[in-house]
Amino acid sequence: MHEVDMTRCLLQALEDWRDQHSIQPCVEQVHLLVGEFTCVEPSQLRLSFAAAVQDTWLAGARLSIVSVPLVGECLACGNSYRPDPACGYASPCCGHPLETILSGRELKIQRIDYSRSRICGPPAPANPCGPPTPSSPAPSPCICPSATP
C-alpha cells in the first residue's frame, strides 16, 4: 500500500504549490500521468487520495489519472514497441532486450485546476479558505554537519 506514501508526497507537493499563492486556491482537479511501468495502482492511488483529503483544504478535489503505456525502442532495428508482460519484455521484432524505455516510467503531477473565488472544503468552516490544515508529515531532521543531532 505504498500509494498511501505516494499520496503523502502528492499532498506535500500540493501544499508547497498552495503556499506560493497569496490567497488559498480551491483545488478542483489534480491531473496525474502514471506510467504502466511503475509500481502504482491507479485505483489504490485514487482511494488513498480521497481518504487523505477529507476535511482538509483539498476536500472535494478530484484526481484525474492518465495511464501512459510502456513503449520500448528496439535498439536492433529502431522500431518502437509495446511489450506484452505476458510474452516478456524483449522486442517482438528482433528479440532485443528492453533497453530504452520511451514512455511508461512517468509518475508526474501534470496540472492543477483550481478556482480563486469559489468556497472550498466541506464542511464549511467560519473561514473556509483560512489557514491551511497542517496535514504534512513532520520535516525530516536535517543531517547537515551544522545541525544538532
Binding site: C9, L10, C39, Y89, L107, Q110, R111, I112, S117, P141
Partner: protein
C-alpha cells in the same frame, strides 16, 4: 460564478522524496561515502549476504549499515556483532524505506560515528519487491536479490525492481539440487528487462559466487573513486562460479 484556471506543474509525483534523496546524496558525496540500497522480497537473504560481505570487506572498507524492518530489530542485532555501526530503522506500517527515514537514520548514525570516516554505507531495505523500487533514498547503487526458491519468473512479475537494479544476486544456489529453478532462465528474464546489470548466482551458506559479487562491487567502487584499499578476498570462499547470462 467562478472561473477555473490551471497551473501546469510537470513535476514528479515523488518530488518531495526525490528532493530529500538528493539531499542525502549530497551528504554522502561530501563525506566520501558510497551508499548501496539492498532490496529483495522477505527472506531472500539480504541480512546473511550483508553478514558475509561485511566480514569479507572488514579492514578494506570502513562501513556502516542502516537496517530497515517493519517491526523488530532482530536483523540489526545480528549485524551489530560484526563490529560496524548499525542503525535500526523500524518503519512500522511502511513497506519500504524512503529518503526521510534514511535521513533520520543518518542522524542516528552520527551519534555513533563520524560519517566522514566511513566509505561504504549499506541500506538494507524492507523485504518487498514492489515499493522500494520507486523510493530513492540517495543511494549510488541498487542491489536486488532473488532466491532460487522464489520462482524463475519473478523478474517478469516485478519488472520495475529488476529494471532499477544495478546488480542482481540470485541467492541460495546451494538449494538448486532441491528446487526446480533454472539459473539460465532467471538470468535471461533479468536481462530481458535490464540487459546491462550484473547478475551473479551466490550462496551465502557455502560461499559460492560471493567472490564474483565482491569483484563486481570492487570494480564499481573503483569506478566511483571510492576504493581505499585493495579488496580482501572473502575467507573460505570457493572459486568464483560462472556469471549467469
Amino acid at each position: 460564478m467562478h472561473m477555473s484556471v490551471s497551473d501546469t506543474m510537470n513535476i514528479n509525483l515523488l518530488a518531495v522524496n526525490d528532493q530529500q534523496a538528493r539531499h542525502n546524496r549530497s551528504h554522502f558525496d561530501a563525506w566520501g561515502l558510497f551508499c548501496i540500497n539492498v532490496m529483495s522480497s522477505p527472506g531472500a537473504g539480504k541480512t546473511i549476504l550483508l553478514e558475509h560481505t561485511l566480514r569479507a570487506l572488514h579492514g578494506a572498507h570502513a562501513m556502516a549499515v542502516l537496517e530497515g524492518d517493519m517491526t523488530t530489530q532482530l536483523d540489526a542485532q545480528r549485524l551489530a556483532g560484526l563490529g560496524v555501526p548499525v542503525v535500526p530503522i523500524t518503519t512500522g506500517r511502511a513497506c519500504h524505506l524512503d529518503a526521510a527515514m534514511v535521513s533520520t537514520g543518518l542522524q542516528l548514525l552520527r551519534q555513533q560515528c563520524d560519517p566522514a570516516s566511513l566509505d561504504l554505507l549499506w541500506v538494507e531495505n524492507v523485504g518487498n519487491l514492489v515499493c522500494p523500487a520507486e523510493f530513492a533514498v540517495g543511494e549510488h547503487c541498487k542491489l536486488a536479490l532473488l532466491s532460487v526458491t522464489e520462482g524463475d519468473d519473478k523478474p517478469l512479475k516485478y519488472p520495475v525492481m529488476f529494471r532499477e537494479a544495478d546488480c542482481v544476486l540470485i541467492t541460495k544456489v546451494d538449494l538448486l539440487p532441491h528446487v526446480p529453478a533454472d539459473l539460465g532462465r532467471i538470468g535471461r528474464h533479468v536481462r530481458q528487462i535490464n540487459p546491462h546489470c550484473g547478475v551473479f548466482p551466490v550462496s551465502a551458506l557455502t560461499g559460492a559466487g560471493l567472490g564474483d559479487w565482491l569483484a563486481w562491487l570492487a570494480q564499481r567502487l573503483r569506478a566511483n573513486g571510492r576504493q581505499r584499499h585493495p579488496p580482501r578476498r572473502a575467507s573460505g570462499l570457493k572459486p568464483p562460479s560462472p556469471t549467469a547470462t
